[in-house]
């Protein structure tokens, strides 16, 4: 068992649709994609964000571009135009997720 940082094996981009934030995670290589599929679960993502994400997190596999897409519900304090946060549109959800460490 060893720990790897998501930052070292993937990149990420996040964006908003009203109160839903999606985080696309792109593996650096096909091998890294296999690691992501096995270890980066929706539950781990939800736990990593604590109370920032109040609803469900759904994971979609996207093998053709070696990516996972996480769709996070009730994640943006009601949506960008009513959010009282600084990151109203969730553009930095990507950054926070890249800090996650996976036990592989």
């Amino acid at each position: 068992m060893s720990n790897i940082k998501l930052l070292d094996i993937a990149s990420a981009r996040s964006g908003d649709k009203n109160d839903i934030c999606n985080i696309g995670v792109m593996a650096n290589s096909p091998e890294d994609y296999t690691t992501l599929v096995e270890h980066l679960t929706a539950d781990k993502v939800k736990a990593h964000f604590g109370d920032l994400i109040l609803g469900e997190v759904i994971r979609y596999e996207w093998a053709s571009i070696e990516a996972l897409n996480f769709v996070c519900h009730q994640a943006l304090d009601g949506g960008g135009s009513r959010s009282m946060r600084m990151d109203t549109l969730g553009k930095n959800f990507s950054s926070h997720l890249l800090r996650l460490e996976l036990e592989v």
């Binding site: 009203n18 696309g24 897409n69 519900h73 949506g79």
Partner: protein, 459 residues
């Protein structure tokens, strides 16, 4: 230019984006069409406020600058402009552009206004007809809403763009045509695609539009996958798609500009704001992106293909803006020593002042900049680690019903400049008082309720 392929550039990613990349593309004649997306979810609310103030406004006002700078160069080089910058007032937008072009001696230009998406005056009517406008996520009926609607617009498809182009439009100023449908409209017109025809082609057109609609975000902007960036950000070249009749495309950017076009930059834009990649819903087609192929094929050249289509959704999406109240914010910064503890003391004092004065605040939030400013509740602050910080910022944000409350609340805590903890800086105006707090209500409406109109005027 034959019919074999067509070049479309993403010229603008949002209302307020720089026109410089599009101007460079127009100068170098590197595209046949430039698409501009101007309407983020929030933008229509801003435009509604403009229109309430002045019935001649309500469009994305950066078209005024574009009509002085970009459009004349594009028109001279035979490049057409397709944008949803018409916002809530496409006819007035068209008149304004005609006037600005005319004043420069650019005459005879066909400018199309596309309307029909504005639904604000029809909310009662459709509810009486039996559609309760249930919230797409929660299922609550619209009648449960206590707030006033600010705007209501239906996302419409590519058909009106095809019609405007077939009537010879040089510039199209649409309302709420969904962002990627602008591009699909161009492709359907150019290749003669039937909008009720080959679903894979339609879906490919949407996918290309999706990759173009955020401008520089597809060509090296905002890209973790290219960090540390070995290219310039100051003059980012925006994406240009050379699309073939089968719907496949090669993406490039200008050699003369900064940025980068790579498999990585395009992959990052593909995932942006997508939910289920097998079912990306648009007014024209449901798009399946799961089998796409994105490959580096040359220097700043990336091929894109493999998009599949499924039938379009039965209904159209309507988004209603609701005025919930106001938000006000302010910033303070604390220096070493005791920076974090001073910040806590400051927040405590602010809360007591507002409570003591009975200022009507519905909700208050605060963040500590340098610790949890961006990630908020996702961060556990370890108090043993913050003892020796050089500085900490405090952001206060309050929600209130009355526009006056914001100013009053912030004025009432200015005294903490002298009466607060030692080693603090702030200035009135660092935070903005009383901005509109809007929530968006997504719902569905029947397709046959929407009839779009294309009107063409000449400069």
């Amino acid at each position: 230019m034959g019919k074999d392929s067509i070049r479309i550039a993403g010229g603008q990613g949002f209302y307020g984006d720089s026109p410089m990349a599009a101007i460079a593309i127009a100068r170098e004649e590197a595209a046949d069409y430039i698409v501009h997306d101007a309407l983020a979810e929030l933008t229509l609310s801003i435009l509604q406020k403009d229109k309430m103030r002045d019935p001649n406004l309500g469009y994305a006002r950066d078209i005024e600058f574009a009509a002085k700078s970009l459009y004349p160069i594009a028109l001279k080089n035979g490049i057409k402009i397709v944008t949803n910058s018409g916002g809530l007032n496409p006819e007035k937008a068209a008149q304004k552009v005609a006037e600005i072009l005319g004043a420069q001696g650019v005459t005879g230009v066909k400018i199309a206004a596309i309307t029909g998406d504005n639904f604000i005056d029809r909310l009662d009517e459709v509810q009486q007809q039996g559609n309760n406008l249930a919230h797409l996520d929660s299922g609550e009926p619209f009648s449960s809403v206590e707030y006033q609607p600010t705007h209501a617009n239906v996302y419409t498809g590519a058909r009106s763009v095809v019609e405007a182009l077939s009537q010879g439009a040089d510039i199209i100023l649409a309302g709420r045509v969904a962002d990627p449908c602008l591009t699909l409209g161009i492709l359907a017109h150019h290749f003669g695609w039937d909008l009720d025809g080959d679903l894979d082609k339609l879906a490919s057109g949407i996918a290309v539009g999706h990759l173009l609609e955020c401008g520089g975000q597809a060509s090296g902007g905002n890209a973790y996958s290219e960090w540390p960036m070995d290219y310039k950000l100051s003059n980012l070249g925006y994406p240009i798609a050379e699309v073939s009749e089968d719907g496949s495309a090669v993406f490039t950017k200008l050699k003369s500009q900064g940025g980068k076009m790579s498999r990585n930059t395009l992959r990052e834009q593909l995932v942006y704001e997508i939910h289920d990649p097998a079912n990306y819903l648009t007014p024209d087609v449901t798009v399946d992106l799961t089998a796409v192929s994105i490959e580096d094929v040359g220097d700043n050249q990336v091929s894109f293909s493999g998009v599949k289509g499924k039938p379009k959704p039965e209904k159209l999406k309507l988004t209603i803006g609701l005025m919930e109240g106001y938000l006000s914010e302010q910033f303070f910064f604390m220096s070493w020593p005791y920076a974090y503890k001073k910040a806590l003391k400051m927040v405590e004092a602010v809360k007591e002042i507002w409570k003591g004065l009975g200022i009507p605040i519905d909700r208050m939030e605060h963040q500590f900049i340098g610790l949890n400013g961006i990630h908020g509740a996702a961060i556990d602050i370890d108090e043993s680690q913050v003892e020796d910080m050089n500085e900490v910022g405090v952001r206060l944000c309050i929600k209130h019903k009355d526009a006056k409350t914001g100013k009053l609340a912030m004025q009432s805590i200015v005294c903490l400049g002298l009466n607060g903890p030692p080693g603090i800086i702030s200035k009135p105006g660092w935070g903005k008082p009383s901005t509109a707090m809007l929530s968006l209500w997504p719902t569905l409406v029947e397709r046959d309720l929407i009839e779009e109109k294309v009107e063409i005027i000449k400069s």
